[in-house]
């Protein structure tokens, strides 16, 4: 097993853990953590593919990872703000109690 395959397996594992978390957790914040895991799994992929790829002088993979870390931070900030806005209303962050709309 080459080192690249190892990294890819770890990354796929992290992605699956994040996916499972995002799908099964009921608290909005835990779902957000699951999504962050998924994003970071993708970052790990970028770095691994860049490091073991044929064109390591071009910094594509690292640049992508750096930008996506920045964007994930911006997204989390907005997300927590939205969680607060919901909490003010319904006094809960549990997703299955947010069911005022049906159809």
């Amino acid at each position: 097993m080459s080192s690249l395959t190892g990294y890819l397996l770890v990354s796929a594992l992290i992605f699956s853990i994040g996916l499972a978390g995002a799908l099964t957790r009921r608290s909005a914040i835990l779902v957000l953590i699951g999504i962050e895991l998924m994003l970071n799994a993708a970052n790990l992929n970028f770095i691994a593919f860049w490091r073991y790829g044929p064109n390591a002088q071009a910094l594509t993979g690292v640049m992508f990872a750096i930008f996506s870390i920045g964007i994930a931070a911006a997204e989390a900030a907005v997300g927590l703000g939205i969680v607060l806005a919901v909490y003010r209303h319904s006094k809960t962050t549990e997703l299955d109690r947010m069911n005022s709309m049906k159809g």
Binding site: A42, N45, A74, G79
Partner: protein, 508 residues
């Protein structure tokens, strides 16, 4: 497109390639600065007017870009060509009309209005940037600029119970989709060694690992499918459209979708153009599912906003039918459909916003009973938009569907066209039910004071949209020419047989 450098290309600054985006960003900043100097508790209309002027300037800048030779700038990350200009114009017009609708929406509400306009402008910047990006990093960043702005806008009515709930649902499912999209890009980078669409196209043609490419495309499709509410990734749509403010729904059901479809076209035809067998089955299945689930779901809805949410899923499905029709006719049909859908859907949500007011207490089907008697003009405009959504001749919706289904039949996807037509029949039922409710049911006294009265800006917006619906339905030639010029910028495999037939029909 890596064209050789000619003297005329060196002569202008690369900033001209993103001039509309620059103007939108500056206007957004300007709106926030102006908000800071406005006195508290005074009308916030000047902000809206600044935003409208900035949007007009951006639209003019997009038209100007038509006269530039197509080409890339900023190290090959953005490309302005007829395709990007087409979508810039669609997005610019949607934003313009949304701003006009919003101008009087905030009557009596003076706090946080500056943010509203700024977020619309920043979001539009992201959407415009999406359509001219030819580098996946740029696509990702601009997709996030547009998404994060719309997450906040969806929760804009902070005091209502439904709006923050809509916002959090949109946010969680949207960022979930983003994660898939990013992972797909990472795999694509691994398979082809690049994130530039042209480099990826080379890698795909040179026989990069088909397994990796299939998974990569699938994950990018999941990510974008969430953003454009394609079944089976549509579950968020009804709740979000019901809870978000109606003018915002008009914007976010059309502009980000147009941008995401532009990205999908660039990825599918530009980068994966030589690997159509990879994505054709996926797109086929999603088109059928979206049309069917959207229309069947809409049948049972009692809330008009929810009904239109399901209808928007179905329309995304029709658009996807155009994808299966191959370049360049499919691309032209898909581009035209985004413009047609934008005109009718922004209009429909504008009328809902007008009739149901700021608190949106009157959005159920029974609230629209006898509206034709109380608001004859608004009801007539609503009727035009609904008729266009059904796809009756002389409206934008008719030609949109006509091109999509003709393109599908010409490229040997007759079954998909038949399914689409059957679906349009089902769809006619729920639109007509709403029309009947408006025109046939006797007037009921409104449950609470009906304060809706039209203002000049709103009337202007609706007049623009009604004209657009008819213009696209009676003289679609100009817009279609631009859409076809955009489609011609793709280097994907040309399907010569299906290239010109519908247009030739039209010209006669």
């Amino acid at each position: 497109m890596n064209e050789p450098m000619t003297p005329s290309m060196i002569a202008f600054s690369p900033a001209l390639r993103i001039l509309p985006e620059i103007l939108m960003t500056l206007t957004g900043v300007l709106v926030m600065l102006v908000e800071a100097v406005l006195k508290p508790r005074t009308s916030r209309k000047p902000l809206g007017i600044v935003a409208i002027l900035g949007t007009l300037a951006a639209i003019a800048a997009s038209v100007y870009q038509l006269f530039l030779p197509a080409g890339t700038a900023f190290f090959g990350t953005v490309q302005s060509d007829a395709f990007s200009v087409f979508f810039h114009l669609v997005i610019g017009c949607i934003v313009l009309v949304t701003l006009l609708i919003s101008l009087d929406y905030f009557e009596g509400h003076t706090s946080f209005v500056g943010e509203y306009y700024a977020l619309i402008l920043f979001g539009a910047t992201g959407m415009m940037l999406m359509t001219c990006s030819v580098e996946l990093l740029m696509v990702f960043i601009s997709l996030e600029i547009s998404s994060i702005s719309t997450y906040i806008l969806a929760g804009y009515r902070k005091r209502s119970a439904t709006s923050p709930e809509a916002s959090i649902k949109y946010f969680l499912l949207g960022s979930f989709a983003t994660a898939f999209f990013l992972y797909g890009i990472a795999l694509c980078f691994g398979a082809t060694g690049s994130t530039n669409l042209y480099e990826i196209a080379k890698g795909v043609a040179d026989g990069a690992s088909p397994l990796l490419l299939t998974v990569a495309f699938g994950m990018m499709l999941i990510g974008l499918g969430f953003k454009v509410s394609l079944a089976p990734f549509h579950v968020w749509t009804p709740d979000v459209y019901e809870g978000a403010p109606a003018p915002v729904v008009g914007l976010m059901s059309t502009a980000p979708k147009a941008a995401a479809f532009a990205v999908l076209l660039r990825i599918a035809y530009g980068a994966f153009g030589t690997a159509i067998h990879i994505w054709m089955p996926l797109v086929w299945i999603m088109a059928v599912l979206s049309m069917t689930i959207g229309n069947l779901g809409a049948l049972t809805q009692r809330n008009v906003k929810r009904m239109l949410a399901y209808s928007s899923i179905a329309h995304a499905g029709y658009l996807l039918v155009a994808f299966t029709a191959l370049a360049p006719m499919g691309i032209a049909a898909a581009s035209f459909y985004t413009a047609a859908y934008a005109a009718m859907n922004v209009g429909a949500f504008g009328i809902i916003s007008y009739l149901s007011g700021y608190n949106e207490a009157r959005t159920s089907l029974s609230d629209f009973a006898g509206i034709a008697r109380r608001h004859p003009v608004a009801a007539a405009a609503f009727a035009v938009f609904l008729i266009s959504l059904i796809g009756i001749p002389f409206t934008a919706g008719f030609f949109g569907k006509f091109y999509v289904f003709t393109a599908a039949i010409n490229s040997g996807n007759a079954w998909l066209a038949v399914l689409g037509l059957l679906n349009s029949g089902v769809a006619a039922f729920y639109y007509l039910r709403l029309l009947a409710q408006m025109y046939m049911v006797p007037v009921e006294p409104p449950r609470e004071a009906d304060t809706a009265h039209a203002r000049p800006a709103f009337i202007l917006a609706m007049a623009i949209l009604v004209l657009a619906v008819f213009a696209l339905g009676i003289f679609p030639g100009r817009i279609l020419d631009l859409a076809r010029a955009g489609a011609a910028t793709f280097s994907g495999p040309a399907n010569a047989a299906s290239q010109t037939v519908p247009v030739a029909l039209l010209r006669r």
